[in-house]
């Protein structure tokens, strides 16, 4: 779902769903990179069974990255994609299945979004090239220097659309990649790899869902499979919840806002293209040794635990005293459904529901009110009960008026605040606060004993007020002076700076940028009328038209929910308007929708290209097809405007607005294409055909012999996979025309990479289990599924029973905390001793700098857990001196003491230190124990896992309690 705000909202509201990934980095030894052995236990202390990759989320950043220079050619792109997959594989380390899904032809409902993205992208690319050219000339004229322009073809990101040569190549390369890894990588040895390339219709994530859904519906499915889905789209969260699998985790890149991007002209970081001066590059490091390092850290990954989200939702959605029994699973489905109102890829969101304004919270509270009246849930297995939805919509409709008014107020307030802030910042020449009270510096070793900080916020406030007063004094003095100068003219007030009334007021201090005019003015009476007039060009009186819009929207809601729970109900359906109706317009919707047209077919890849590409990307199409996009006599020329209007719709930037593109008339498109179909070459014909999923296994996989046997017997019928061979996965196998076979060479499609002389992989076409057309996939937790342990603090937790609550940061509640072994302590002691004279306290933050973690081997939950984290308090801290002696047998000099932060401070600073000291004793014991028995246990291959393994293994019983020795040890202050 194209709602970036959704993820942000979710991770703020439900912080514990996020777990930072632990990634084992490969090491170099004498210049040789040592590959990571991914067959070793997962350092995240959890074992995943299946990893699903929504490949488009990987292809885009790898082919046209935003934070680093783009790869030079297609080969480099492929290598970048391979590396990215390797990285993910190393983090997740799936044990059963790797499923790669590339977006195929999407349902018609998605086409308008794709169209608008591609039309925009094409325009932006041209603009960027123009601007670059212009800036280049400009800089040269001013005598600047720029690196020579690399001769490379401009990469049109529009080629990442099914049917293009690029996608075809990518599929070939991925086959090679899979064969290579299955042959050479021990972590892949027992993995079943599925590849669903762009020739298989359906969006990537939905192909994955279809796979999961169909596997769940067959009796051999292991209900305790641990799924991990990779992708950044917010709708993956919905999809994951919709599966009702108890163990579902999403992995995605950590979102870091405002990452610096290199200038597109000179490649330097720190300015944007328009400010490029063409000055020589600054040296990085004394001898320019850091020239190629990017100042930002590498993109990190995070896990998003849906099981924890379910815990949160359970708390939020549980309703007592319902007229019918409460069913959590059903209420999750309703929650997912309500999120669609706020935004999805297929429908514009309702004007009154804005995720930033807490729309989902509002919906949930309305839902809880209304559900008493509705007598049941809104949805069942992906089918919508429209009568009940109408009640919700009407409840939203009642609030609509106020929402719009409040939105305007908030906006005004925000502007005002920003203005004030600007003013304040300008006025702030004096100190922003005065250091005083308990934060005032005190001489070390003075007579006053250090006192714990109390009520720090209040002190901070006092200090700020003090600063303000200082500022006011200054202002008052100034105005007094001014009064004296100007005689009787009284100044307007101390806050109104004198310099403001000069003739040459600086342009900056006026407030807003020119804002787009908003004709709809939703905050004023008559908004509905104006909205329909402006957006749809119909009068208030045109009830019929408004009904039509509502009907389409209702169909849309049904379609989307069905899409998420049952698969694509109709390939043809789409929402034929650019805007949504108001919630209050949803009246009498009960009979507005019956069912979708049956038996619709997806477009062929090249047909879809004709539907989503602008004329500027026509080079991806055969010549005669391309001509239809530009020829004035073409019968579909109206699909391809040069430029199109954008309705900012209350937003600020063009990319946020609604692109007013015409819709494609499917009949006319197909009619026009029948004429040019004969012009396709056989190669193009092949690219235009629908393909099949392919499954690959390595030689040591039990399925391998079965497949080889199929090839040997050349059976042309589909054969079912015996469930016992592949962890209960079922499906139909069909022989591949150009298969990858074991002991045969596989040619590398990328010149940079070597051929595989003797692959040990085998590939065969795969088809998901088929069900009869009227089959309904049940949205329930499967029998036999074990719910994972709870992570959130129980509501009825009492300190007295079991001590203070210890929040869980990773997957494993009993995670071994990090310790240093003796040699590490010796090193540390050595460094502390050698540094203490000069730098005193300073060495602490320095040590901490490159170490991420707070006593855990996971990086600190910096962004998402802010404020949420509390270091565990020890009931009974051991005497400080004692533990130190224990830790430093060589007895550091006594003057040491002041260097340690005072333990009372509780928060940062002191913590790592005395923790480490304390941990030392136990760590030693651990080491001893490990020496006896534990040592060998994680060197050996983990026991082959069979299907119905007890679930608790993941969280507790797996016995990887001690970290493998290769791990980074993080600790910090």
């Amino acid at each position: 779902m194209g709602v970036p705000a959704f993820f942000r909202w979710l991770s703020r509201k439900y912080p514990s769903i996020i777990v930072n990934c632990v990634e084992e980095k490969s090491k170099e030894c004498n210049g040789v990179r040592i590959p990571i052995d991914t067959s070793k236990p997962n350092p995240n202390e959890v074992e995943f069974d299946n990893l699903y990759l929504d490949m488009n989320g990987i292809i885009h950043p790898c082919t046209h990255p935003e934070d680093k220079p783009a790869p030079k050619n297609e080969d480099e792109m492929m290598v970048a994609i391979f590396e990215y997959i390797d990285r993910l594989f190393n983090i997740v380390r799936p044990r059963r299945v790797l499923y790669m899904a590339i977006d195929g032809v999407a349902p018609r409902a998605k086409m308008n979004q794709q169209r608008s993205r591609r039309f925009r992208a094409s325009k932006e690319a041209v603009e960027l090239a123009d601007e670059k050219q212009r800036m280049r000339e400009d800089i040269f004229q001013r005598g600047g220097y720029l690196p020579p322009e690399e001769i490379k073809e401009r990469f049109d990101s529009n080629c990442i659309t099914p049917g293009t040569e690029f996608m075809d190549n990518l599929a070939k390369c991925l086959r090679y990649y899979i064969a290579d890894r299955l042959t050479n990588d021990p972590g892949w040895r027992n993995i079943t790899v599925f590849l669903s390339d762009a020739s298989v219709p359906g969006e990537g994530e939905h192909k994955i869902m279809d796979f999961i859904r169909r596997q769940r519906a067959q009796p051999n499915h292991d209900p305790n499979t641990h799924h991990c889905l990779c992708g950044a789209d917010a709708d993956l969260i919905m999809l994951g919840l919709a599966t009702h699998e108890p163990n579902f985790t999403i992995i995605r890149e950590e979102f870091k806002p405002n990452k610096p991007r290199p200038c597109a002209l000179c490649g330097q970081i720190g300015h944007e293209l328009k400010d490029c001066q063409g000055v020589a590059r600054e040296k990085r490091g004394e001898h320019d040794e850091f020239a190629d390092t990017i100042p930002t850290s590498e993109q990190e990954f995070i896990f998003l635990r849906l099981s924890v989200l379910r815990e949160y939702l359970e708390r939020e959605l549980t309703m007592a005293s319902l007229p019918f029994p409460f069913n959590f699973e059903r209420s999750v489905d309703d929650w997912v459904f309500m999120c669609f109102f706020v935004g999805n890829d297929f429908l514009p969101h309702l004007p009154s529901l804005e995720i930033r304004e807490g729309a989902i919270d509002r919906l949930v509270s309305i839902y809880k009110d209304v559900v008493h009246k509705t007598g049941g849930y809104l949805t069942e297995n992906g089918f919508v009960n429209l009568e009940r939805v109408e009640l919700i919509m009407q409840a939203v409709g009642v609030a609509e008026d106020n929402i719009f008014k409040k939105r305007k107020d908030d906006e005004e307030n925000f502007k005002k605040r920003m203005k004030e802030k600007k003013k304040r910042l300008k006025a702030e020449q004096g100190p922003a606060f005065l250091l005083g009270g308990q934060f005032a510096p005190q001489a070390l070793g003075g007579r006053d004993r250090p006192i714990p900080v109390q009520n720090a916020r209040h002190t901070a406030f006092d200090m700020r007020m003090e600063g303000n007063r200082y500022q006011q004094n200054k202002n008052a003095a100034e105005s007094l002076r001014a009064t004296l100068r100007n005689g009787s003219k009284a100044p307007a007030g101390p806050s109104d700076g004198m310099d403001n009334r000069g003739l040459k007021r600086k342009a900056e201090d006026s407030d807003s940028e020119p804002e787009p005019e908003d004709n709809v003015r939703l905050w004023e009476d008559g908004w509905k009328q104006r909205y329909y007039k402006n957006k749809f060009d119909v009068d208030e009186t045109d009830e019929e038209f408004r009904k039509k819009v509502v009907k389409s929207y209702v169909e849309g809601l049904c379609w989307v929910l069905r899409y998420y729970y049952q698969g694509c109900a109709s390939w043809k359906w789409y929402f034929p308007f650019h805007y949504a109706p108001f919630a209050s317009d949803f009246k009498d919707i009960k009979d507005m929708f019956k069912d979708f047209e049956k038996g619709t077919m997806p477009f062929k890849p090249l047909e879809q290209l004709m539907g989503v590409f602008p004329a500027a990307s026509g080079n991806f199409l055969p010549t005669t097809w391309r001509a239809l996009m530009t020829d004035p006599d073409s019968s579909i020329i109206d699909f391809y405007p040069d430029d199109f209007a954008i309705d900012l719709n209350g937003k600020k930037y063009a990319w946020q607005g609604v692109a007013l593109l015409p819709f494609v008339d499917e009949r006319r498109l197909r009619a026009a294409l029948t004429k040019v179909y004969p012009d396709l070459t056989t190669e193009e014909g092949r690219r235009n055909s629908l393909g099949s999923d392919v499954v690959f296994v390595g030689k040591s996989h039990p399925l391998c012999d079965f497949i080889i046997e199929l090839y040997r017997s050349e059976s042309c019928e589909g054969t079912e996979i015996p469930p016992e061979l592949c962890h209960g996965i079922q499906g139909t196998l069909n022989l591949d025309e150009e298969p990858i076979l074991p002991d045969k060479p596989v040619e590398s499609p990328v010149p940079l990479l070597r051929d595989i002389p003797c692959s040990s992989a085998v590939g065969i076409k795969f088809k998901d289990p088929q069900f009869e057309e009227r089959h309904v996939f049940k949205a329930v937790v499967l029998p036999g599924a074990k719910m994972p342990n709870k992570v959130l603090k129980p509501g009825d937790w009492h300190r007295s029973n079991s001590g203070p609550w210890k929040p869980q940061l990773g997957f494993n509640p009993n995670r071994q905390q990090v310790h240093l072994d003796q040699s590490a302590f010796r090193t540390l002691g050595h460094h502390v001793n050698s540094h203490q004279q000069g730098s005193g306290q300073h060495n602490q933050p320095r040590i901490g700098q490159h170490v991420g973690g707070q006593y855990s081997n996971a990086p600190p939950p910096s962004v998402y857990h802010q404020g949420n984290y509390r270091p565990p308090l020890r009931k009974d801290p051991p005497p400080f001196q004692h533990s130190r002696q224990h830790g430093f047998p060589r007895a550091p000099p006594p003057s040491h003491q002041q260097q340690y932060p005072r333990p009372q401070r509780g928060g940062h600073g002191g913590h790592g230190w005395d923790r480490a000291m304390q941990a030392q004793g136990t760590a030693y014991q651990h080491n001893v124990q490990r020496g006896h028995g534990g040592q060998g246990s994680y060197h050996q291959q983990p026991p082959r896992r069979d299907d119905r393994r007890p679930q608790e293994g993941y969280n507790s019983g797996r016995g990887y309690a001690l970290p493998p020795p290769t791990r980074r040890y993080n600790w910090s202050s």
Partner: protein
Amino acid sequence: MAEGSGGDVSEFLSQNPHLAQWVESLKEHNETNKQWLARREFVLRNREVFPTIRPGTTNHSLDRLLSMSKVWANHVFLGCRYPQPVMDKVNEMAEGITVNEADKCVHKTRGEIVGKGKRPAVSVSDGESCSKKSKTGPSDTDGKAVERNSGRPVAAPVKSGPSPGAPAEHQPFFNRLYKAVAWKLVSAGGFGPNLDHFEILRTCVESCKASVSCVFVPLKDIPDLPAGCTQKEGQVCELRCQTVYMGTGYGRDECAARAMASKEALKIFQGRKVTVKLSRRRFRGQDVEDLVLLDEQPRRSTLPPALSYPFQGDQ
């Protein structure tokens, strides 16, 4: 839809019921009545152009007609733009159909929105966003004054520019003007803040048998202000003499702006000589070659965007 032609259409259809039914079948599900009526007229008017169209069947020529009608409707109601040949053809076909101004698409095209901000415009918003007042200097006595600013700027892309020989042509005049200014300033007690700069500049220019032209534009109407500059009130004045740009100034009102511009212009004359040069600068979102007067010091900053451009159209 104008009632007049709409009435004709309904009358025509009531006389040809078989056509009425056929043409109604061409209405699209998501089309509003108003848009449909306009498009229906387009279809009916141009039906004859495609003689192979038979009501009740779909064929290639019908699809072409439909396509053209959609191009036209998309342009008028949705704000799409098509390649010029397509537009020409469609406009020709649509001749005679009247659509209320108010019903047309009010949104700006992508190019306009994006071009207005920080990026170079692909298609610059024309007159409507920068209505420009133009005045020549108060003492426009000399007939040789070359400047003529048409009230509404020509929307056509700025193609023509000053000829490469123009700087040399204008140089002798400005050498004379330089001397005149120098003497005038000497008699006024030297360049300083308390002079009436415009008066000095005007008398000097007039003594050289030419005139100063001032163009005033309200600040808010200038399309490509730097992003940081968000002041809205006030006027901006640009001074030219014999099409050569001399200075830009900003002030609360026109007088103040003109004074500021004159001051800037006189600053150029503080150097050892003045030179007329060709220089690139922004004009309504595009880069143009302009004739500018410079002193011999290397310029640090780029020139402010031009407010007028006397090298197009009638030049």
